[in-house]
């Protein structure tokens, strides 16, 4: 094994807990997915279309009338919530040490994530399909 510079890694691959190792890998897999999904999303809605054009009607009739873009949006929502949850979890575990406060903040993070998952899915699924 190459000796690593102490500067090199953000978070070394954990050893021991299988769950932490799985999270470490999932963070990287969802990160690569978001590299494509989120950067393409940002580019499409800022460089190809202008924010001023994207009214609720535009989203319903020009974007979510196509199943591809609905699927894209939902996949991105799932990926970003997963990556964001786990990232925020890492930050909370690093800085909040008082046990009850830590549990409370982690729970509020899970609740926020769950609410976003539900309302985000609802708005994508409930949008009317074209005739």
């Amino acid at each position: 094994m190459t000796r690593l510079s102490p500067y090199a890694r953000a978070k070394p691959r954990p050893t021991g807990s299988r769950r932490e190792v799985a999270i470490w890998y999932l963070m990287r897999i969802t990160g690569v997915m978001l590299f494509v999904l989120a950067l393409a999303h940002f580019s499409i809605y800022h460089f190809i279309w202008d924010p001023a054009e994207q009214t609720a009607e535009f989203i319903i009739t020009q974007r979510w009338n196509q199943l591809f873009w609905r699927g894209y949006t939902w996949l991105m929502l799932m990926t970003v919530l997963f990556h964001g949850w786990l990232g925020m979890r890492t930050v909370i575990l690093d800085y909040v040490h008082r046990p009850r406060l830590r549990t409370g903040i982690l729970w509020s993070l899970y609740v926020v994530g769950l609410v976003l998952l539900v309302i985000g899915t609802q708005v994508i699924v409930a949008a009317p399909l074209p005739e």
Binding site: M1, L4, R28, G31, F42, F47, P51, T55, A56
Partner: protein, 133 residues
């Protein structure tokens, strides 16, 4: 000494700065995602209110916010890729400083034109008035 922030006090050089920026941009992006899922929910829930929120996104302060958001997103994406390269291919650690500077070269090369496109309502009328566009 304890009043000096660790980031300035502890001389961790490139890797430490990369880590700090990654964390700050990540928390910022998460905050925007929370806002953005809620505003998109309005597309179905209250389309008129959504269109009002959109007016802010299309305004000058809104566009400045999008430039900052885009910068955070681009940095976080590029630095994340740098981390993955170093994780999967530890021998690349020898070139960790080159990777760090490469991140910034791509950041500027992609980010500056991107920021100009987002801010086009500011400079485009001026260019048109001068007969250049």
């Amino acid at each position: 000494m304890s009043r000096v922030p660790t980031l300035l006090r502890y001389r961790g050089r490139e890797g430490m700065l990369a880590w700090a920026f990654h964390r700050i941009s990540g928390v910022g992006i998460f905050a925007f995602v929370v806002l953005h899922v809620i505003d998109i929910y309005l597309v179905g829930g209250d389309p008129e209110l959504y269109d009002e929120v959109l007016e802010f996104y299309a305004s000058l302060p809104g566009r400045l916010m999008e430039v900052v958001l885009g910068a955070a997103l681009l940095y976080h994406a590029l630095n994340g890729l740098r981390i993955i390269i170093l994780d999967l291919w530890p021998a690349m650690t020898v070139y960790h400083r080159a990777l760090w500077w490469g991140t910034w070269i791509i950041f500027i090369g992609v980010g500056v034109p991107g920021a100009l496109i987002i801010m086009r309502p500011v400079w485009l009328p001026w260019l048109q008035a001068a007969g250049l566009a």
